[in-house]
């Protein structure tokens, strides 16, 4: 059942705004950072077609990041506060999004896409009835594009695992990424996450989403004869997680390198104000 609707951005209490901001950062930061990583595949994918498909996915994720960052701008932040000048240790994305690609691993891109897109599907489902109208309004647009992402990832996995070599590559990628994928459902700040649930901003708590994710991901890999480090029936414990989980601002070294890279031009050109090519649709 949907909680009572919250006010618009100007009329939220401080506690409410804090919760909305963390939720939006979880969404926006994941999408933005993952899109940065996908972009590295551009012109390097196995075929022209797969190149265009992954570029398309990256473009979609950047678009989704913009939808969520826009809602943070409602609170007075500007693009440079949210992206180009935000210190890297304040980013709240899961470490799955920031991992670099090992040499030549197309399977890595496909596995990461799959692990992420199943989580994305679940978390968007938990926002359909969000008590915050502006989040609710954006969910449908994102879901429409995510269906393609999931289908794309599943189709690739089914084909890569058809032979021994391909399955080996997928297995290696799963071994490398699974623990990081679990951080998708880790709390950023446990009290705030509880507030997000209590306010009805999200209608399914992270732990439940995490269990559902395991119930979908594990049998799918089983059907492809790929092992996962968890059976899907046990609780996630600290030793199954990577040393850093990202959500609390603690990240792997690779994140700081990536941050250097994508802010490099902004720092060098010293533009001050990022260029806006369109009006914010919520601005009257």
């Amino acid at each position: 059942m949907a909680a009572e609707g919250l006010a618009g951005p100007a009329d939220l209490g401080d506690d409410e705004q804090e919760a909305v901001e963390l939720l939006l950062h979880r969404l926006a930061d994941d999408e933005f950072v993952l899109a940065e990583r996908y972009t590295e595949w551009q012109v390097r994918s196995p075929t022209l077609e797969s190149d265009l498909a992954v570029a398309n996915v990256a473009q979609d994720e950047l678009g989704h990041a913009r939808l969520w960052f826009d809602l943070l701008e409602d609170f007075g932040y500007e693009e440079q506060d949210l992206i180009w000048e935000r210190p890297p240790e304040q980013w709240r994305h899961s470490t799955l999004a920031e991992l670099p690609w090992p040499d030549g691993g197309w399977a890595d891109a496909v596995v990461r896409g799959y692990l992420y897109d199943v989580a994305e599907d679940l978390r968007l489902g938990a926002l359909e009835d969000s008590s915050y109208g502006r989040i609710r309004d954006r969910v449908g647009k994102v879901q429409g594009e995510e269906d393609y992402h999931l289908e794309h990832a599943q189709n690739w996995l089914e084909r890569l695992t058809e032979d021994e070599d391909g399955r080996g590559c997928v297995q290696d990628a799963v071994d490398r990424q699974f623990a990081h994928a679990l951080t998708l459902f880790e709390p950023g700040d446990p009290d705030l996450e509880e507030r997000i649930d209590d306010l009805g901003l999200r209608t399914t708590p992270l732990s439940e989403m995490g269990e559902e994710w395991l119930r979908r991901v594990v049998p799918f890999f089983e059907s492809l004869d790929v092992d996962t480090p968890m059976s899907g029936r046990e609780d996630v414990t600290a030793d199954q997680l990577p040393a850093v989980v990202g959500r609390d601002g603690d990240h792997t070294d690779d994140w700081f390198d990536l941050y250097e890279e994508f802010t490099h031009t902004y720092d060098q050109v010293d533009v001050g104000d990022p260029v806006r090519i369109m009006e914010d649709p919520d601005d009257e």
Binding site: L48, N56, R159
Partner: protein, 105 residues
């Protein structure tokens, strides 16, 4: 494997050839075709067809029609105002186009 892609803009219209994609099977071909041929133009439907299944007969193999003067089939000698009926106006325009493409003018 190459798949020829046909795009239909609106329901009921013809699917028109618009290019091709490389894909291992029909499922992947459909996924790739969406991005390459259905993302930038309004699209109602796409067909993907394995290239070897497209069979061709060209103008070296056969003499196609449409090249001889069949104007005797058309009621062009009646002096009527074609504007009184749409189909007559259409027919007249078709005859003119056919004549032009034959190079009769």
């Amino acid at each position: 494997m190459i798949w020829e892609v046909f795009r239909q803009e609106n329901a009921g219209e013809y699917h028109t050839h618009c290019g091709n994609v490389h894909a291992p099977d029909a499922e992947m071909a459909k996924l790739f075709a969406q991005i390459q041929h259905g993302r930038r133009k309004p699209t109602h439907s796409l067909w993907v067809v394995p290239q070897p299944e497209v069979h061709e007969v060209d103008d070296e193999d056969t003499a196609f029609g449409g090249t001889t003067d069949k104007s005797y089939r058309w009621a062009v000698t009646y002096d009527v105002d074609a504007s009184f009926a749409q189909e007559v106006a259409d027919s007249e325009r078709e005859q003119e186009e056919a004549a032009r493409s034959r190079g009769d003018d």
